[in-house]
């Protein structure tokens, strides 16, 4: 099943609605990375609220999305990880190191707003000094 990717301002929102196969996940990754460039997105939100299982491939794909999007200039945040899923992930050692997470879509948007604002605020200042 294809994951719908919505554009909301400077952000892309991918809302996963059901369990995904490995192929679906790879497809999601490619689509997101491609669209980050096409829409000049500053942030990516992947909503996994509907997932009640997260395997190592899914976690790796999410991590890859975050790292690749950062290389393309967008900050990624994963939102809506269920408590049970979080617990299982930690026990399996799948901890999404280096990837931002937030409670839900609202929190994710707030987080991205702060992050992108910081970058805008900080960017010119540094250059001025240099």
């Amino acid at each position: 099943m294809e994951v719908p990717i919505l554009k909301q301002g400077h952000y892309l929102i991918a809302s996963i609605q059901s369990a995904l196969t490995d192929a679906d996940l790879s497809q999601l990754r490619e689509a997101l990375i491609e669209r980050v460039g096409r829409f000049r997105a500053r942030g990516v939100i992947v909503d996994v609220t509907a997932l009640d299982v997260m395997d190592s491939f899914a976690v790796r794909t999410l991590r890859d999305i975050a790292h690749m999007a950062r290389l393309r200039g967008a900050e990624t945040v994963i939102v809506g990880i269920q408590p049970e899923v979080a617990f299982a992930m930690v026990q399996l050692g799948l901890t999404l190191k280096g990837v931002s997470t937030a409670l839900d879509l609202e929190e994710g948007l707030a987080f991205l707003n702060v992050q992108t604002q910081l970058r805008i605020d900080r960017g010119p200042g540094r250059l001025d000094r240099g």
């Binding site: 979080a86 617990f87 930690v90 997470t101 409670l103």
Partner: protein, 302 residues
């Protein structure tokens, strides 16, 4: 079944006859024990005192308990059923466990009674060695079973109490408290075993979700000791919370725990730690954008 059993010719002595003779011997034995009740009971109580068992109880109490144990013991020998004795053992355990009576004392007194009674049997039948042998054959299995029943009853009662207390502690000990909008504190007190760590984490994650918490302060001032297992549980809790978008601050690591953790080489670099609970809450408020100021600074100057 019964008729079939009779059809088969067995080279062994008829088990029916054997049980009958055992029953007869036990009857004789019980009569003897009833006859010498006072004397044997006193002898037993004396030996309990001499062996310094049941030191938590007074001599009168020992004698009273000894009497009921003795009567229950003789009754179990007579009827061959152990339910009454079991119930009595449970009841006795319930009464004496809170007074600090140990397992070895209970086993000790039952074994003493066994010895006292065996001695009296020696005394009675020492002239008829054959009879003595048969009496002991009947007596020993029954006596051992009684000793077993009482000891097991005691241990079971003890374990039941321990389980009950564990549950009580577990229920009491893991409150997740909201101190400010989106700020939770989780004070941990006592020993963290894997089961409790799991429960703590689950409870915390659920609370983060329902309270929409952004920052959690875990206070471990009340944790006496920490090993690598517990430290790893803590790290897991921190990481699971992060996956839900909450930052965790750990406070109240005692000097001993800090030293242990560094010595055993647990990697806590991922964890934000602050000295005490107050510092942790202040840090959390900063993260949430709160600033606490005294009231007079807020009132406009006239």
């Amino acid at each position: 079944m019964a008729t079939k059993g009779k059809d088969v010719q067995s080279p062994l002595p008829d088990p029916q006859a054997q049980t009958e003779s055992t029953a007869a011997l036990l009857r004789e034995l019980v009569a003897h024990l009833r006859q010498n009740r006072t004397q044997l009971r006193e002898e037993w109580a004396r030996r309990i005192t001499r062996a310094q068992l049941l030191t938590a109880m007074t001599e009168e109490e020992i004698f009273a308990e000894a009497t009921s144990v003795y009567d229950n013991y003789v009754e179990a020998l007579e009827t061959g059923t152990f339910e009454a004795l079991q119930a009595y053992a449970r009841n006795l355990s319930e009464r004496i466990i809170p007074r600090g009576v140990e397992t070895h004392e209970v086993v000790g007194i039952v074994l003493l009674l066994r010895d006292v009674l065996a001695r009296s049997l020696f005394g009675k039948y020492h002239e008829d060695f054959d009879k003595l042998n048969r009496i002991l054959d009947a007596y020993e299995p029954a006596a051992n079973r009684i000793a077993n029943t009482v000891a097991v009853g005691f241990v079971q009662e003890r374990e039941r109490i321990i389980r009950q207390q564990q549950e009580a502690i577990r229920e009491l000990s893991t409150p997740v408290l909201q101190v400010r909008e989106r700020l939770l504190i989780l004070p941990i007190i006592g020993v963290i075993d894997p089961q409790r760590a799991r429960q703590l984490t689950e409870q915390l994650l659920r609370a983060i979700r329902t309270n929409r918490a952004k920052v959690v302060v875990i206070d471990i001032t009340g944790v006496a000791a920490m090993d690598s297992n517990v430290a790893n549980h803590l790290v897991q809790t921190v990481e699971a919370s992060r996956l839900l978008g909450a930052t965790v601050i750990v406070t109240g690591l005692s000097p001993e725990i800090a030293q242990t953790l560094v010595t055993i080489g647990v990697d806590l670099s991922e964890m934000a730690t602050v000295g005490d609970l107050q510092g942790g809450i202040e840090e959390a408020e900063r993260l949430l954008g709160y600033k606490v100021v005294p009231l007079e600074e807020l009132t406009p100057k006239a």
